[in-house]
Amino acid sequence: MTSPTANRRQRRPVVLLRPVPGDSAVHRLWAGTKLVMVAAIGVLMTFYPGWVPIGAVALLVLVAARIARIPRGALPSVPGWLWILLFFGGLTATFAGGSPVIDIGSVSVGLGGLFNFLRITALSIVLLGLGAMVSWTTNVAEIAPAVATLGRPLRMLRIPVDEWAVALALALRAFPMLIDEFRVLYAARRLRPKDVAISRRGRLRSIWLEIIDLLAAAVTVALRRADEMGDAITARGGVGQISASPARPKMIDLWASVIVIVVCGTALALELTILGTSAVTT
């Protein structure tokens, strides 16, 4: 039997904390290397948000995505209102004018405003893409051990890095369970009849009460979960190992780091010398 209705167009959802299946060079990189890279590039972009660094990092992200064979389907659908917002943002920014000015026939248009708007948009997209690359290529189980290894120097300052790493691992374990429970909570709320309050004041009050109710339900569920988890930890005799085979950085991590440092270093040098676009001019 063939189904009578055609497939409905579905929005691609945001899939959380699940890597794109594969075993590429990017997948094999140690999670710690990826985290350090993202953090370092993030700092670079915050201090030097010029076109050259943005372009260089965008190039890195695209090349990495190609190596890791990330299909276009991994991107969530961009909602329509976001396009509209971007369009109007760009439009108002264009009206502001500013140098450089180009002439189209008899009309001259100043593109300075638009360029600034585009630069900050590109910056946000590149930063999002950078983070997405990590979550698309890293198994969740590798993150906490990597954080423990990276944070080892902090132990000398008597900072409980290992405790944090364990908490991170457990939180990552609890996260999907809580998300599932929230889904049920939200569905249960959808099933209920809408409250009909007469006055606007009454409506506001009932919204507020409803938020408190939902919060209390969510918190109760979370606390139960935590109590059970506490029992499970006690049953294992407390905290100890969190990984059967903690990964270590390998040769490939060294090479990847060298590539990133060279690309970002060149971009920074260009930004500071001949192709600077982010300097404070006024």
């Binding site: 108002t92 996260f175 506490g230 029992d231 407390g238």
Partner: protein, 682 residues
Amino acid sequence: MAVTGDSSMSRRSGSLSPGELAQASVIAALSAATAIISIVVPFAGALSLVGTVPMGLLAYRYRVRVLITATVAGAIIAFLIAGLGGFMVVLNCAYIGGLTGIVKRRGRGTATVFFSSLVAGAFLGAVFVAALAIMSRLRHLIFESVTANVNGLAAVIARVPDMAPLADRLKHDFAVALDYWPYLFFTYSTVTIAIVTLIGWWALSRVLSRLFGIPDVHKLESSDDAAAIGPVPTRLRDVHFRYPGADHDALGPVSLDVEPGEHLAITGANGSGKTTLMLMLAGREPTGGTIERPGAVGLGRLGGTAVIMQHPESQVLGTRVADDVVWGLPPGTKTDVARLLDEVGLDGLAERDTGGLSGGELQRLAVAGALAREPSLLIADEVTSMVDQDGRGALMSVLSGLTQHHQMSLVHITHYNDEAETADRTVNLTGNGGAADNTEMVETASAPAATVASGHHSDTPVLELVGVSHEYASGTPWASTALSDITFTVNEGDGLLIHGLNGSGKSTLAWIMAGLTEPTAGDCLLDGAPVSDQVGAVAISFQAARLQLMRGRVDMEIASSGGFSHHDRKRVAKALSTVGLDAALAKRRIDQLSGGQMRRVVLAGLLARSPRALILDEPLAGLDAASQRGLLRLLAELRRNAGLTVIMISHDFSGLEEVCPRILHLQDGVLAPIATTAGGMS
């Protein structure tokens, strides 16, 4: 889970206790989830306001070290998913929530919160201004870009006749405001933090008053006994136990011995103290009598005592199977993970995600984790009660072989009679008379063949599923098919059981029939129109009843779910009596109900709206024998007398025939052949 009780106990220094660590982790996940939703979902930014409540609760109940741990873990997760924005939201929530929680713990009032929020806001404002001063290029870019937008808007306004002065004004004022940005940001931060803190304070106070009186479910106790480990032989003499604040003993008096190398089964109805006995064996001090052991209990230690508990999902701590086996072992311990997994029948799954395992597999994984500690005593506490038929068989064969292959004693606590048969010896706990009506044991039933209803129901179709297929995350690399081409009809007054194992897609089917999920292909029609346009017309009772109870009190809950005022006592009483509950329960707090009562209150609320059909997802999970029978009798009566259409989703069969004469088998997302004919005949 007493809300205040723990705080006095938790004034300890040094590293976190297991309980503190678990609280920190779960609250971290909770606040990361709220932060991510507030960033990813449009117009949900206000959600970050209430994100302060979990952190506030944590700061109220535990010391600052717990709060910091939760903040670090939550912020890292939020950063991984939502970038720097998520990271900042979690930090903010922890900052503000921590403030309110600590003030609350000190017993101070609104005035203290207000003033400390001003100080905290000013401090954060200063930090913010300093950060922007250092990141001059980014600041410049942001300011220029916003200025461009404002100037562009002004340029548009200026074209409107007579509006030119207004446009100039806008441009000028904005430029001036940017000139004074440090003051502007400082004031903005101070005011916002104060407002958000006050909102968080009110919300926290309300939530705390709601959480008061949640029964304490915390059970196991870790001991720091430094003596040599030697849990067996254990000799219990006249042991009894009473929970703090309870008015009768939960256990005892009991006398029994656990000998080295024996397989001992302990049976008994709910309320006879089986789980309390497990706690005694696992090292909790009895309130009376004596427990003799040659050495320390060594809970979770090498060569000590290992415990496997009822809920498969919550005792798994690792994200990957191999990680879970070694979780918690002392650093440096070498473990042959492959051999352990092989012994419990999970060979080759070492690299798999624990999230994808079925209940039975998770329990066998827990056995592997216990065996990694080479325990002298293994306690299995009702390990099969949340596991489906197939999983139960596999798990039992693993358990029954343990005492032959290992130097260990196995204590298996169960309410299934047939499971006790494999043991060397069986001890039956009779309870202390307080639970006399609960004395029956559950018999497991074998699967009856799919049947066609021979019934008295009418032939008016209520729900029609035509070629329903569903795929999660379509179009992404994570796409997975849950259902394919499901076609069947449910008639008015039908009693239908949809049977399937874990992962067969039966819950997805339930959500589709309730209209909560729109199938990717095919149609699910209620009275001829798509059910997804009529959410609420088909009632669904979820497996986790607690998630469906949103109000604090029974009458409010039923009224809100049924759509009337809770002052309407008659209707509340009527709704309660429909599900066989006493009207006196109306003023009871939700969290003081038993599992069976919770499920009935959910049903009362759902039935008060006279739904076209009632879907029940695993209605018997977690209920004891008496509550199970009572609930089934109630459902059978409702179907017979009120003509209610009942659709049950379950991995079990026992006793369901009376409610659900018609059975459909679901396997890997398709209806099994016999059942399809049954569906096609209607």
